[in-house]
C-alpha cells in the first residue's frame, strides 16, 4: 500500500545523503558536524522559520504560565458576569463582544466570562495535549517501524496488519464514543486529568501507524547499507546495531515528523473539544469556545474569531517552523 500525504513528502527521501551546496561559506564550517547540527545551522538562516519559532516559544510560555496569569485577567476564566450580558439577546453589551479595559478581548455571550483569560487557559491544554500525544505517536511509531523493518518476516506481517487496522479506523467516531462512556474519575485521575490522558491516548495512539510506516521504510533501506553490514560482520549484536547504527539515522525523520505532527495534534484536540468530548467543563478550550460561538456568531463575530485565530496562528506557526525543520534537514525540498 502506498500513502504519501503531501505534508510529509520529504520524509520519503533518503536523509543520509545531505550535501551542502558547494561553494557556500557554510560548506567548510559544517565539516565534521552531526546532521542535527548542520540542520540547526541552516535553520538559523531561515527567517520565516525563526519568526515562527519565536511565536511557538511565545505560545509555549503563555501556555506554561496560564495557571498563574489567567485567574488575574478580567475576573478569571470561569467567573460569570451577568451584568455584562444583554437580557434580551444573551449577547455581551458593548462593541465587538464587550471589549473593555477590564475585558480586553471581551466576554462570552450567555455568561460574560472573560475571553482573554479563557483563551490563555485554553492554550495550556491545547499545547500540553498535542506535545504529549506527539511524543506517544513517535515512540509507538519508532518501536513498530523498527520491529517491522528490522526483523521482517512474520513480525513485519503482524505489524503491517496492525497498521492497516489503525489506518482504517474512524478515529473521531471512536474518540467520541470513548469519551462519552468514560466515568468522571478513574484510575486515580481527577476529572480533568482523566480526560486529558484519554485525549493523549486517542490522538497519539491512533497516529502511530502512519509514522510507523515511514520508519519501517527507512529501516528497510538502512538495513541494507554498507555500514550496517560492516557492523554486523564485526560481530555486533542485534541490539547494538539497532541502537548504535540505525537509531541515529532516524533522528532526522523523527524530528521532521514531530514538528509537523504537533500542529496536526493541536487541530485534533480542538476538534474533539469542538465536538464536546475534549476538555471537560468548566475548563476552557479553543475548540469548545468555537463551538460555543456558533449559536450567535452572526451577531457576535468577535467570539468566533478570537479562538479561531488562536488556533490558526498557533498551528500556522508550528507548521512554518516544521517546514523550516524539514528544509533544514533536506534542502532539496527547497522553499
Amino acid at each position: 500500500m502506498t500513502t504519501l500525504p503531501g505534508d510529509a513528502s520529504a520524509l520519503t527521501d533518503d536523509f543520509g545523503e545531505i550535501t551542502p551546496e558547494p561553494g557556500t561559506p557554510a560548506a567548510k564550517a559544517i565539516e565534521g558536524r552531526s546532521l542535527t547540527q548542520i540542520a540547526w545551522t541552516r535553520l538559523k538562516r531561515d527567517k520565516i522559520a525563526m519568526t515562527a519559532m519565536c511565536i511557538v516559544i511565545l505560545m509555549c510560555v503563555i501556555g506554561a504560565c496560564a495557571s498563574f496569569v489567567a485567574p488575574h485577567l478580567g475576573g478569571g476564566p470561569n467567573t460569570f458576569h451577568s451584568n455584562l450580558i444583554d437580557g434580551d439577546t444573551s449577547l455581551p453589551i458593548g462593541t465587538a463582544g464587550g471589549i473593555s479595559s477590564k475585558h480586553w478581548l471581551g466576554v462570552d455571550p450567555g455568561s460574560g466570562r472573560d475571553i482573554a483569560a479563557r483563551v490563555i487557559k485554553g492554550a495550556q491544554w491545547s499545547l500540553l495535549i498535542s506535545f504529549l500525544a506527539t511524543a506517544l505517536t513517535v515512540i509507538l511509531g519508532l518501536v513498530a517501524g523498527l520491529l517491522a523493518g528490522y526483523f521482517g518476516g512474520w513480525v513485519d506481517a503482524v505489524v503491517n496488519w496492525l497498521m492497516a487496522v489503525f489506518l482504517a479506523f474512524p478515529v473521531v467516531l471512536f474518540g467520541i464514543a470513548l469519551a462519552s462512556g468514560l466515568p468522571l474519575r478513574a484510575f486515580g485521575f481527577s476529572p480533568i486529568w482523566l480526560r486529558v490522558t484519554l485525549l493523549i491516548l486517542v490522538i497519539g495512539g491512533f497516529g502511530w501507524a502512519y509514522f510507523g510506516r515511514i520508519v519501517r521504510g527507512q529501516v528497510l533501506t538502512l538495513r541494507e547499507k554498507e555500514f550496517v553490514d560492516a557492523s554486523r560482520s564485526l560481530g555486533a549484536s542485534e541490539l547494538r546495531i539497532v541502537f548504535k547504527e540505525i537509531m541515529p539515522n532516524l533522528i532526522a525523520p523523527t524530528l521532521v515528523f514531530a514538528s509537523l505532527a504537533i500542529p496536526g495534534n493541536i487541530l485534533a484536540e480542538a476538534t474533539f473539544s469542538f465536538l464536546g468530548v475534549g476538555i471537560p467543563l468548566p475548563e476552557p478550550s479553543w475548540g469548545g469556545m468555537l463551538n460555543d460561538s456558533l449559536s450567535q456568531y452572526q451577531y457576535d463575530p468577535a467570539y468566533l474569531f478570537i479562538p479561531g485565530l488562536a488556533i490558526f496562528v498557533t498551528v500556522l506557526a508550528f507548521n512554518l517552523f516544521g517546514d523550516g525543520v524539514r528544509d533544514a534537514f533536506d534542502p532539496k525540498a527547497g522553499r
Partner: protein
C-alpha cells in the same frame, strides 16, 4: 451543533400539560381544571371565533387570546421539527408536543377543550357524552360513548375498542415508552399480560374494565382517583381497533405506522425522521366533535431539520410552526426581538416547566439539610437565568418548585438571595457551619451534554465555589439522561451525583399530575425511570398527595399543592431557578392561534390558514 434549547419534554422527563398562561400571572389563581362541565352529546361544534374574542396580532398575543380568529377553510399547514415524534402510537407517546399533536387523529373519552389559556386546560367530553359518573366511593367511573363516532375505515367505535386501547398499556414488553398510569391503577393483582398474550377469545380479558354494552365502559379503580377525567385525555386512552392491532403485519410494534384515526385527520404517509403527512379523515363527523375542526386540507411535518435552517424557514414564512415548541435558538431570538415587525409574530408562553437542580439527600455529603440549604443560599440565580438564556429565552427567576401555571400555586421565597438575587453568601456560610462543614465540601453536578444544561451547571459551580463548595461537572448523553442516568438511584449513588440539573412539567395539569412523580416517597423507582431524584421521603407530602387524589374540592387541592411546595423547599430538595419560557414564532398567515393552558404551547388542532394555501 448549535446551541439549541433543550426540548421541553426532551429526554422524556414527563409531559407538560399545565394550566393557563397569562391568566395565571397573579400569584393565587383559582384552580378549575377538573371541575366537570359538559355540553352534552351530539352538539355541533361552534366556530372558535363565535365563542371567543380574538386579540390583535402582537407580541405575546397568543398567550392572551385567539390570534386571527377565522372559520376560513383550505390550505396546508406546514410544521417543522429538528427531531421526530417519540412515537405515533397513542400508547407509546410521552413527549408533550407528541401528545398535543395526537389530537389530530386520536380522540379520547375526555379531551382538553379547544380554548386559549386556562379554559383550555379543562377536560371536556370527547368520545364520551359526559364526564365520568363517579360511584362506589370514587372507585367506579362510568362513561357512555356518543353515537356516530367512527374509525377512518368507517368501523363504528365501541366501548370495546376503548377497552382494547387501555389494555395495550399493559403490554409494556411490546409497546414501551408511554405513561403506565392504567397499568398502575387497573391491574389490581390480576397481572394482566396485555392483549397479545391474553387468553380471552376477544382479547378483552382485563377484569377491572367492563363493557356491558357497546356504548358503556366502566373503570374499577383500586383507589379513588379524582383526576381520572384529566388522565383520560392522554392518548393512552384512545380507542384501538383490535382486528388491526392483532394483525402481525400492521399491529403491535408496527401499529405506529398504521394508526387508525378517530379524529378529523388521518395519516397519509410517515417516514421516521423525515416527514409526516395528514389528510382529512372522511369518516370523521363534525357533529360528534365539539373540540376539533377540519379547517385545513392537509397537515405536513418536516422532520430531522437542522435547527438553524428550521428557524429560518419559520421566520421567512416557508414553515408555519415549530412542533416541539421549545422556542427559537439564540441567533433567531436576537433577530426577532430586534425587529418590531417580526416580534409581533412571536409569543413567549410559560411552558409550565420549572428549571432547577435536584439535591439528592441520599448522597452522603448532602444528607444534612443544612448543607443543602447552603447550596440554596449560595446559588446565583441571575447567573443561572443568564445561562439558561435570560428572561426571554430562559424564563423568570423561580423560588418555588410549582410553576405559576399550576392550580394552587402560591409565590414564596424561603431562601432570599439578596436584592440583586446573586446569592446570600453570609447565610450560606452560616448554614455550612450548622452542617458541620464551615469550609465547604465537595460533590458532583450531573447534566446533559446538550443545550443549556452544561452552561447552567458551570454557573452553579462558579457560584458555589464562592463559599468553598467545590464541584465537578459530569455530562451525560441527553437521550438517556432522565431515564437511566439520574433516573436510577443506584447509579446516582455510585457516581456520587449530589446535584442534578433537571426540568419538570406535569403529565396533566393538576397538582397531583405535577408532584406525584417528583415528591412521592412511594414512587422512588429503583430500576430506572425514577423522577423523585432527591429521594424525598416526607410523610406530610405523601399524605397531601393521597388527599389530592381523593378529594374533588379545588380548594383542598390547592392547599395540598402549597403544603407540598413548602415542604419541598423547607427540605431544600430542589433548587429551582427559572419558570421556563419559550420564545416561539407563528406564521402571520395562520388563523385561530392560541396557547392552550393544557400544554403551554399552541393548540395545533385548531389552527387554519388565512390564505388557503
Amino acid at each position: 451543533m448549535s446551541n439549541r434549547r433543550s426540548r421541553v419534554a426532551f429526554a422524556a422527563t414527563s409531559v407538560v400539560l399545565t394550566i393557563a398562561v397569562a391568566a395565571c400571572s397573579s400569584s393565587n389563581s383559582k384552580p378549575t381544571a377538573t371541575s366537570p362541565t359538559t355540553s352534552g352529546s351530539g352538539v355541533a361544534a361552534t366556530t372558535p371565533s363565535a365563542e371567543n374574542t380574538g386579540v390583535k396580532a402582537e407580541f405575546n398575543a397568543a398567550t392572551k387570546g385567539i390570534v386571527n380568529a377565522s372559520t376560513k377553510t383550505g390550505g396546508t399547514l406546514n410544521y417543522v421539527t429538528a427531531d421526530d415524534f417519540d412515537s405515533l402510537d397513542p400508547n407509546r407517546t410521552y413527549y408533550a408536543y407528541s401528545i398535543n399533536f395526537q389530537r389530530y387523529f386520536s380522540r379520547t373519552l375526555m379531551a382538553f377543550d379547544a380554548k386559549p389559556g386556562i379554559a383550555g386546560a379543562k377536560a371536556v367530553p370527547d368520545l364520551a357524552t359526559a364526564p365520568g359518573a363517579i360511584t362506589n366511593d370514587g372507585k367506579t367511573i362510568t362513561y357512555t360513548l356518543k353515537d356516530g363516532i367512527k374509525f377512518q375505515d368507517g368501523t363504528p367505535i365501541t366501548s370495546k375498542d376503548v377497552k382494547y386501547g387501555v389494555e395495550r398499556n399493559f403490554a409494556q414488553d411490546v409497546l414501551p415508552g408511554g405513561p403506565t398510569y392504567f397499568k398502575d391503577m387497573l391491574d389490581e393483582g390480576q397481572k394482566y399480560p396485555g392483549p397479545y398474550k391474553d387468553t380471552d377469545p376477544n382479547h378483552l380479558g382485563l377484569k377491572s374494565v367492563q363493557t356491558p354494552d357497546d356504548k358503556t365502559i366502566v373503570f374499577n379503580l383500586s383507589a379513588p382517583y379524582s383526576d381520572f377525567d384529566a388522565l383520560l385525555t392522554m392518548p393512552i386512552g384512545a380507542p384501538v381497533e383490535s382486528k388491526i392491532d392483532l394483525d402481525p403485519a400492521k399491529g403491535g410494534s408496527k401499529y405506529q405506522s398504521n394508526v387508525q384515526s378517530s379524529g378529523p385527520y388521518m395519516i397519509q404517509s410517515y417516514e421516521p425522521k423525515k416527514s409526516l403527512v395528514l389528510v382529512k379523515n372522511p369518516a370523521w363527523d363534525q357533529s360528534t366533535d365539539t373540540i376539533r375542526h377540519q379547517l385545513v386540507d392537509k397537515v405536513t411535518v418536516s422532520m430531522g431539520l437542522d435547527p438553524d435552517d428550521m428557524d429560518k424557514r419559520l421566520i421567512s414564512g416557508q414553515a408555519d410552526l415549530e412542533i416541539e415548541s421549545t422556542g427559537l435558538q439564540a441567533a433567531q431570538q436576537t433577530e426577532v426581538l430586534r425587529d418590531a415587525d417580526k416580534k409581533a409574530n412571536a409569543d413567549e408562553p410559560l411552558t409550565g416547566f420549572t428549571r432547577g437542580f435536584a439535591l439528592d439527600q441520599a448522597v452522603p455529603e448532602l444528607a444534612n439539610v443544612d448543607c443543602r440549604k447552603a447550596i440554596e443560599y449560595a446559588a446565583n440565580k441571575v447567573d443561572l437565568q443568564t445561562a439558561r438564556g435570560g428572561p426571554h429565552g430562559g424564563g423568570d427567576i423561580a423560588t418555588t418548585v410549582a410553576p405559576p401555571t399550576l392550580p394552587g400555586y402560591q409565590s414564596f421565597d424561603l431562601y432570599p438571595s439578596g436584592p440583586d438575587k446573586t446569592g446570600d453568601l453570609d447565610k450560606a456560610k452560616e448554614e455550612l457551619a450548622k452542617c458541620g462543614k464551615p469550609n465547604g465540601f465537595h460533590t458532583n453536578i450531573a447534566t446533559t451534554n446538550k443545550g443549556k444544561g452544561p452552561k447552567v451547571a458551570t454557573a452553579l459551580q462558579a457560584a458555589l465555589a464562592r463559599v468553598g463548595i467545590t464541584t465537578d461537572i459530569q455530562q451525560f448523553d441527553s437521550s438517556s439522561y432522565y431515564s437511566t442516568v439520574i433516573g436510577t438511584p443506584s447509579n446516582v449513588h455510585s457516581k456520587d451525583l449530589g446535584i442534578m440539573v433537571m426540568g419538570w412539567g406535569a403529565d396533566f395539569p393538576t397538582g397531583f399530575g405535577y408532584f406525584s412523580a417528583i415528591a412521592d416517597s412511594r414512587k422512588i423507582l429503583q430500576d430506572g425511570g425514577n423522577s423523585n431524584w432527591p429521594e424525598v421521603k416526607e410523610p406530610a407530602i405523601d399524605a397531601a398527595l393521597d388527599d389530592m387524589a381523593a378529594t374533588t374540592d379545588p380548594a383542598k387541592k390547592a392547599a395540598d399543592v402549597q403544603t407540598i411546595d413548602h415542604k419541598l423547599m423547607e427540605g431544600a430538595y430542589y433548587l429551582p431557578f427559572t419558570y421556563d419560557k419559550a420564545l416561539t414564532y407563528r406564521n402571520p398567515r395562520l388563523t385561530n392561534v392560541y396557547i392552550t393552558g393544557a400544554a403551554g404551547m399552541y393548540d395545533f388542532v385548531s389552527i387554519g390558514t388565512s390564505d388557503g394555501k
